[in-house]
């Protein structure tokens, strides 16, 4: 990362001890770093755009997000409108009024493209919400484990081992099977059980940050632990956290569609990519397009997020191993 710009310290407590022998007008680096200042955003974007794969990923993510937000405007048909007279029509089928179904219709005569566009809403909603829950949870656990160390660290890391021991999908379907499938339950189950990656990465960062001089200085000058954590440690763990969150979103989207595929996701008639795939599987021998296109939607979205996340990692923190 670029060196932090020198600045006047906000208060005496943040003077860098190592700066003592230097001439008096030289002050230590700003302790309350603001890695996400506006100029750095622009610089980051420029560096990302220069990597072609990251740019491609970013564009895919943008397109999917726009499609989700503007679904009623973009979708050519009502995703729930059934027309049994036009069931299982091939991609490119033109109906009596001359309206084209670019990706064909499903077993109830619904337009597949429109359902895919609306399906992106559930995928992104679950992805974002679950990542926020698990990200915040993992951040807190990682901060506490890394900063306090000792028994607390041991305990929290054993919890992480326990969490990792479960085959994720199996635990998720068991819990959702008990609680009942609903958008809220899916988000909670995925969110609560995905914190481990965040906690491990944040903890690793904290282990090195807590030995830095500015942290020792803050503690020596009497800052409370939570203040040190919030103002000095947390901002410096944000970059790796963001990379993990981006890549994890791809995983969450796949899990959401897997749950929907098994019938434990958001229930019909709401279109979900996994649910469409499950429907399409039944008509595999007669209508290949039913199962093919929703899967392609998942593939492209996940690929886009992965490429964007890889680019983000390579630009922000190339040594991060996730």
């Amino acid at each position: 990362m670029a060196a932090l710009p020198p600045s006047t310290p906000a208060d005496g407590a943040q003077l860098h001890p190592a700066a003592a022998p230097a001439p008096p007008e030289v002050v230590g680096p700003r302790v309350r770093s603001r890695p996400w200042a506006e100029r750095e955003w622009v610089a980051l974007l420029r560096r990302l755009v220069r990597r072609r794969t990251a740019l491609f990923g970013m564009l895919v993510v943008l397109v999917v997000m726009l499609a989700a937000l503007a679904a009623p405007l973009v979708a050519p048909f009502d995703p729930l409108e059934q027309d049994i007279g036009q069931r299982l029509r091939e991609p490119g089928w033109q109906d009596a009024q001359g309206r084209v179904h670019p990706l064909g219709t499903d077993h109830l005569g619904r337009d597949i493209l429109s359902r895919i566009i609306f399906g992106s809403r559930i995928a992104l909603l679950v992805g974002l919400a679950a990542v926020v829950i698990s990200g915040v949870l993992g951040m807190i656990i990682g901060l506490v484990a890394g900063y306090f160390g000792g028994r607390m660290d041991d305990f929290l890391m054993r919890l992480a081992d326990i969490q990792l021991a479960f085959p994720f999908i199996l635990l998720a379907i068991a819990v959702i099977g008990v609680l009942g499938p609903s958008l809220r339950n899916i988000i909670i189950v995925i969110g609560v059980s995905s914190w481990v990656v965040y906690a491990r990465v944040v903890r690793g960062e904290v282990l090195s940050i807590r030995e830095r001089e500015y942290v020792h200085a803050a503690v020596a000058l009497g800052s409370r632990h939570w203040r040190v954590l919030m103002t000095h440690v947390l901002p410096n763990t944000f970059t790796p956290w963001l990379v993990v969150a981006t890549l994890d979103m791809a995983r969450v989207i796949v899990i959401e569609s897997a749950l929907s595929f098994l019938g434990l996701g958001v229930q019909p008639p709401t279109p979900t990519w996994g649910g469409m795939l499950a429907d399409g599987r039944v008509y595999l021998s007669t209508a290949w397009w039913l199962a093919t296109f929703p899967g392609l939607a998942i593939l492209i979205t996940v690929l886009g997020i992965n490429l964007f996340g890889d680019g983000l990692r390579d630009t922000l923190d190339p040594r991060l191993k996730v």
Binding site: R158, L159, D161, I162, L164, A165, F166, P167, F168, I169, L170, L171, I173, A174, V175, G177, V178, L179, A250, V254, S257, A258, F261, L262, G263, L264, G274, L277, G280, R281, L284, S285, W288, A291, T292, P294, G295, I298, L299, I300, V302, L303, N306, L307
Partner: protein
């Protein structure tokens, strides 16, 4: 070395204990396990009677101890649907799941390690680009979609391979590819980056400088050192494979633990679900403990930690 292994053994036991707590809690998530275990049309009176009979009115800690006492003997109660001990039912299906996961892992290792090495040695050539693109696609492809597409092409269209059931080798091919692809992609990328890192080290330059031929440099000096992260990921990937088997077995009607547990969830047969979750999680813990032992032989530095 010995103290390290003892510590790892103790940690594994702790994790198994934690696993048992979570498996126990699955039934208590809604607060009323009796209502969960009985059919939906049970009367309030039935539920109350059943609750007393099963001891669900006792304090949770007492119930957990009772559960743990059964669990260490492999007793998770009887399957509500089949009337047999739940653990026996799951145990019967375990070989099928291990066969599938093993085949998936074998495919992954056979494809990924050579692909990763070639990719690293011939960096930025066409071979490297193809391997990288395939790995990226493999990581982005949902298992269930891949499985369905393979069935569409090889079973429905070409009629080469069966689309469901367990039998000879021809039954294993499609599910194993489906299950193994994600792991293949991950290990390819890991092998490539690991080899690239090792190939840039001083000892590789020394080996080349003193006249060691290119094949021994790559296969002996470099691969040995790049293999450590691969061994670790194999242990972790086993979790992915066991979890992925839930989906793959459902698609290919493979009679393993994964398919059984999905059916059990829809039948509200929770003792079977608990047994399956517990068994697969324990397998993961035990394998990772074994991986750690292998590790200490591969990398002697770990013994002194």
């Amino acid at each position: 070395m010995k103290s390290y292994l003892l510590r790892r053994l103790w940690q594994s036991l702790l994790v198994l204990f934690g696993v048992s707590v979570v498996v126990f809690l699955i039934l208590h998530l809604t607060g009323d396990p009796a209502a969960l275990l009985l059919p939906p049309d049970a009367t309030a009176d039935d539920i109350a009677k059943f609750r007393t009979a099963m001891g669900f009115d006792d304090p949770v800690a007492v119930q957990y101890l009772r559960f743990l006492k059964g669990a260490v003997r492999g007793d998770f109660g009887e399957s509500l649907r089949h009337g047999e001990p739940a653990m026996a039912l799951v145990g019967e299906r375990l070989p099928a799941t291990f066969q599938l996961a093993g085949a998936g892992l074998l495919i992954a290792l056979c494809l990924a390690i050579p692909a990763g090495i070639v990719s690293a040695v011939r960096r930025n050539t066409a071979v490297d680009y193809v391997a990288t693109v395939v790995a990226l696609l493999g990581q982005a492809m949902p298992t269930f979609w891949l499985g369905i597409m393979l069935i569409l092409v090889f079973s429905v269209r070409l009629n080469w391979l069966p689309s469901s059931g367990r039998g000879g080798l021809e039954h294993l091919i499609l599910p194993a590819i489906t299950l193994g692809l994600f792991t293949t992609a991950r290990i390819t990328r890991l092998t490539r980056s690991g080899m690239l890192e090792v190939l840039g080290q001083d000892y590789i330059r020394t080996a080349r400088a003193k006249g060691v031929g290119e094949p021994p440099v790559v296969w002996k000096h470099a691969l040995k050192n790049a293999s450590i992260p691969i061994v670790t990921i194999v242990g972790i990937e086993l979790g992915t494979l066991l979890g992925g088997s839930v989906i793959t077995e459902t698609i290919f009607a493979w009679p393993g633990v994964g398919r059984l547990s999905v059916q059990a969830i829809f039948n509200r047969d929770y003792p079977v679900v608990q047994s399956a979750v517990f068994l697969l999680a324990s397998t993961f813990v035990i394998v990772n403990f074994l991986v750690d032992i292998i590790y200490t032989y591969l990398d002697p530095r770990i013994r002194y930690r």
